[in-house]
Symmetry: C2
Subunit: 153 residues, 2 copies
DNA sequence: TCTGAAAAAGAATTCGG
DNA sequence: CCGAATTCTTTTTCAGA
């Protein structure tokens, strides 16, 4: 992992479909060298995956919300996690240290669909308390960490 | 926008670097047809971008946190937004309806680096109150909405 | 480990139907 | 939208630095 690898990662974060030869010319490296490095970045799990980001507005998904959940007991965890995985409107779920047990990031169509999701959530066994915070707009939305500029290793 | 477009989107969400011919064979459509559809999805802004997701753990970014911020007055907004854009450890920023004004999603190295970021945040003019919630683990992490299976338009 | 070139394979574009 | 031909791109290989 060096400066050149970081440059490759940054180019792929800007556009995951750039060709190897385009990367090569951008960073002044030969095509085989870039190809080798890219394979190592993929095989080594440095690059987790390549994702197409779909514009939520084009699917009338206009409402973003953060929802906090507290679960009654640890034994309900497995069932809750399965529920979360099933629900496409729940994009993220983080297990928390603190007052609530989970934080969900939700993108849905409207107040009405949020209400329906909330009702599904409340009917999952063990869900005790919820708190929903609605976002009015999104100021920044990076999907991946940005590797800091490298010098070591 | 129809069922086939949704299938194309889903394949690109699984792997944004799949080739058009691979998509074509997966959905039983000719290569030129897929190529045309893909161009329309891109040009129409349905696909926002293609992103390589970098594994945070491989860069020792082990700590995820949600931070709520309240700003003193609207006039500090612009400066705050610029700050947020500059800080690579702040991945998301949403403007809120409610108690706090903004929610940030933060991925950083450790408690020490979170502390330093918190201090930078607190020294942004207008930042009045913050509340930080640390995540212990991530249960689900989708980066894009999943289009519902289509029938109309 | 990289380069450069050449060969081979594969993918995308074009276009007639 | 299909299918075939053309063109472009990518990958692989390897000798040499």
């Amino acid at each position: 992992m060096d400066t050149l690898d970081v440059k490759i990662l940054k180019l792929l974060q800007q556009n995951a479909r750039v060709t190897v030869s385009e990367i090569a010319s951008q960073i002044n490296l030969s095509v085989p060298a870039v190809s080798d490095r890219l394979k190592k970045l993929e095989a080594g799990g440095i690059i987790d995956k390549y994702v197409a980001i779909v514009n939520p507005a084009r699917f009338q998904k206009e409402l973003t919300a953060i929802m906090f959940i507290s679960l009654e007991r640890p034994k309900f965890t497995e069932q809750f996690v399965e529920f979360v995985q099933r629900e496409d409107e729940i994009l993220e779920c983080h297990y928390l240290a603190g007052d609530y047990d989970y934080a969900l990031k939700i993108i849905t169509r409207s107040a009405a669909t949020l209400e329906r999701l909330l009702n599904r959530i409340k009917s999952v066994p063990g869900v005790q308390k919820t708190r929903t915070i609605v976002a009015l707009s999104t100021v920044k939305n990076n999907h991946s960490i940005i590797p800091e500029d490298y010098s070591g290793e």
